[in-house]
């Protein structure tokens, strides 16, 4: 199936359109809120919350005895919130560090959820089939009403983020200081945690308990690489998340037996990989290039200052000298000499070199320049 055909199908096929829209909205809200989780250094919180939601789904099924995604959502929300506030409580009330608290809650809730799931599977109730889909998610079960629900929550979340933008930003950066300004940081903390829980719970049906944390982390981690502004980071993360959803759905829809959730997560991982390597400011590639360039520049400067020391005792600065006398100098190579000539700092005639006026001036200023850049 080629791309054009696929795009046409997205607009005509009800199921495909629902899934594409659903995963796009889900990716956007997860990216947006994930930025806050990442900057709060609570990357693992998403993982703990999504696992903590599992028993809620199982209990909701046990209570109503039928599959109902809204009831499951509510169950997941309640147990996810309980999990996240227990984590907060453990960190505040005991000496345990946050990674321990997260791990503890994650395994405790997930274990309990699995226990309930196996119990449910033994029940003589035909409705239980498909409950295990919440482990890895099944995008095909998305309905139009689910997409509306997601869009509604995303809208509310967007309004709240815009409204409390300044407060959320400052409390992320410096919470003690925020408190001295008279802002209620507990309220802000609960607000953002609740929204993260809601976003995770919304994604469980599509991406599943196990992989959901990647939807929170990956777009945000990728976005951080491209910008030094919080607002742009949040917008970028939302875009990356949405595209992960759309592309992931497309790939899984055009191949048989490719489950959507894992493919979306893998697409998001590709965004992360590309960002880590190719982003101009923080990416590995450009960092390496800058590093090499700096080293080469330093080598040139070393050669130039060596020449300057030879030349400065002569009256005529452009008096030619033999290349040979540079040989004992470790920074000197044929290549660096060539580069100096390209920059018009030296002229080379046969096996003699001479500094140009601009080369002399540059060399004389080198020392000043070096100290200046260190001051900055």
């Amino acid at each position: 199936m080629d791309i054009l055909e696929y795009i046409e199908l997205v607009f005509t096929d009800y199921t495909l359109r629902t899934i594409t829209l659903g995963t796009a909205v889900l990716g956007a809200i997860c990216g947006m809120l994930g930025s806050f989780a990442v900057l709060r250094k609570q990357s693992l919180l998403g993982d703990a919350i999504s696992h903590a939601a599992l028993p809620g789904i199982a209990i909701a099924f046990l209570i109503i005895g039928a599959k109902n995604s809204n009831a499951f959502l509510l169950g997941a929300l309640i147990s996810g919130l309980i999990g996240s506030f227990w984590i907060r409580g453990i960190i505040r009330k005991t000496h345990l560090k946050s990674d321990t608290a997260l791990g503890l809650i994650l395994s405790l809730f997930f274990g309990f959820g699995m226990l309930l799931l196996t119990y449910i599977q033994k029940l003589p109730n035909a409705n239980q089939a498909g409950l295990e889909n919440y482990l890895f998610g099944q995008a095909a079960t998305l309905l139009e009403s689910d997409v509306w629900m997601m869009s509604l929550v995303t809208g509310i979340c967007l309004i709240v983020l815009l409204l409390f933008w300044k407060e959320l930003k400052i409390s992320l950066f410096d919470s003690d200081y925020t408190k001295t300004l008279g802002f209620n940081i507990k309220f802000l903390d609960i607000l953002i945690t609740t929204f993260i829980v809601v976003a995770i719970v919304l994604g469980l049906q599509t991406v599943g308990v196990v992989l959901m944390s990647a939807m929170i982390l990956a777009p945000a981690a990728a976005a951080r690489q491209w910008t030094n502004s919080l607002s742009i980071m949040v917008i970028l993360a939302a875009i990356f998340g949405a595209f992960s959803g759309v592309i992931g759905t497309a790939i899984s829809a055009s191949h048989n037996n490719l489950s959507t959730g894992p493919v979306i997560v893998l697409v998001a991982a590709v965004f992360v990989l590309v960002s880590f390597i190719f982003s101009p400011g923080r990416g590995l590639l450009f960092r390496e290039i800058r590093f090499r360039k700096n080293r080469n520049d330093l080598q040139l400067h070393k050669t130039l200052s060596f020449m300057y020391n030879i030349v400065k005792d002569h009256e005529d600065i452009s008096h030619p000298h033999a290349i040979k006398i540079l040989n004992n100098f470790q920074g000197f190579t044929k290549k660096s000499l060539q580069k100096l000539e390209d920059k018009d700092y030296v002229t080379i005639e046969g096996n003699m070199w001479s500094l140009t006026t601009s080369g002399y001036e540059t060399a004389a200023n080198l020392y000043n320049q070096l100290t200046q850049t260190e001051d900055e």
Binding site: L39, K41, L163, F164, W165, K166, E167, K169, I170, L172, F173, D174, D176, Y177, T178, K179, T180, L181, G182, F183, R224, T227, N228, S229, L230, M233, E376
Partner: protein, 245 residues
């Protein structure tokens, strides 16, 4: 006392877990002084500031800012936290951080506008950092980051400034620049309280000093009480005994 009392601390006791960090502190800080809080590591210097600012809840005691509880006087107080207390890789610029100083007077939801931006730019100029206003904060040196924190507190235009080790990890030039700003604040009648580590510079920089080591050892004008006796009491080998009393 020569002036009004800016900060009045009574019977303040703070404990993390079981061990007291601050024990029954009574302290009156007169208006218009530039005061150093000195004491060994673990003496509770930062804790003292944080409990005055209601960041840490004390077990007992009260704090009054100009005769009223701190909660009612927030707008009179500015805080410069330790530089290491935040993540400098946070995606924001120097100007943005200084703007945060205006958030308190703005209150909930309201956005900073041109007026706030102008104030922030003025503060940046005062600390000599105007040229770096658009710089991502992780690309600033330690001294520059400290100046940004100072500028953020200046924007608050408070009467009382609490600073937690503003000279930590800064070079001599920055230290001079910061102390000049602090002296200017005092000249303008503000009260400045600084957690300080370098005992050598206390007589040169400050006119008031508090010796602290879990308990308050002494407080008063530098010229009267900055002496060997108090230094030994605060830093001396007997300090463990005095903690247990």
């Amino acid at each position: 006392m020569k002036n009004k009392i800016a900060v009045q601390i009574d019977d303040l006791t703070v404990a993390y877990n079981y061990k007291p960090v601050l024990w029954d502190i009574d302290l009156a800080i007169p208006e218009g002084v530039l005061m150093a809080i000195v004491g060994p590591n673990g003496a509770g210097k930062s804790t003292l500031i944080k409990s005055v600012l209601d960041i840490i809840k004390p077990i007992a005691g009260s704090v009054k800012i100009y005769d009223k509880p701190y909660r009612k006087q927030r707008s009179l107080v500015a805080y410069v936290p330790q530089k290491g207390s935040v993540d400098w890789d946070f995606p924001t610029t120097a100007l943005d951080v200084v703007m945060m100083g205006t958030y308190g007077s703005l209150g909930w939801i309201k956005r900073p506008g041109q007026k706030q931006k102008k104030e922030a730019l003025e503060a940046l100029e005062k600390v000599g950092m105007l040229a770096f206003k658009s710089r991502q904060i992780s690309q600033l040196s330690g001294g520059q980051q400290q100046r940004i924190f100072l500028a953020r507190a200046l924007v608050q235009n408070a009467s009382i400034y609490f600073m937690d080790e503003p000279f930590q990890g800064v070079d001599a030039t920055t230290e001079k620049a910061i102390i000049n700003i602090l002296k200017e604040l005092r000249k303008a009648g503000k009260t400045v309280i600084v957690v300080h580590h370098d005992l050598q510079t206390v007589p040169e920089y400050f006119d008031w000093v508090t010796f602290l080591n879990v308990k308050k050892i002494a407080t008063g004008p530098v010229k009267d009480i900055f002496n060997d006796d108090n230094l030994t009491k605060t830093y001396g080998i007997n300090y463990k005994v005095s903690v247990q009393q």
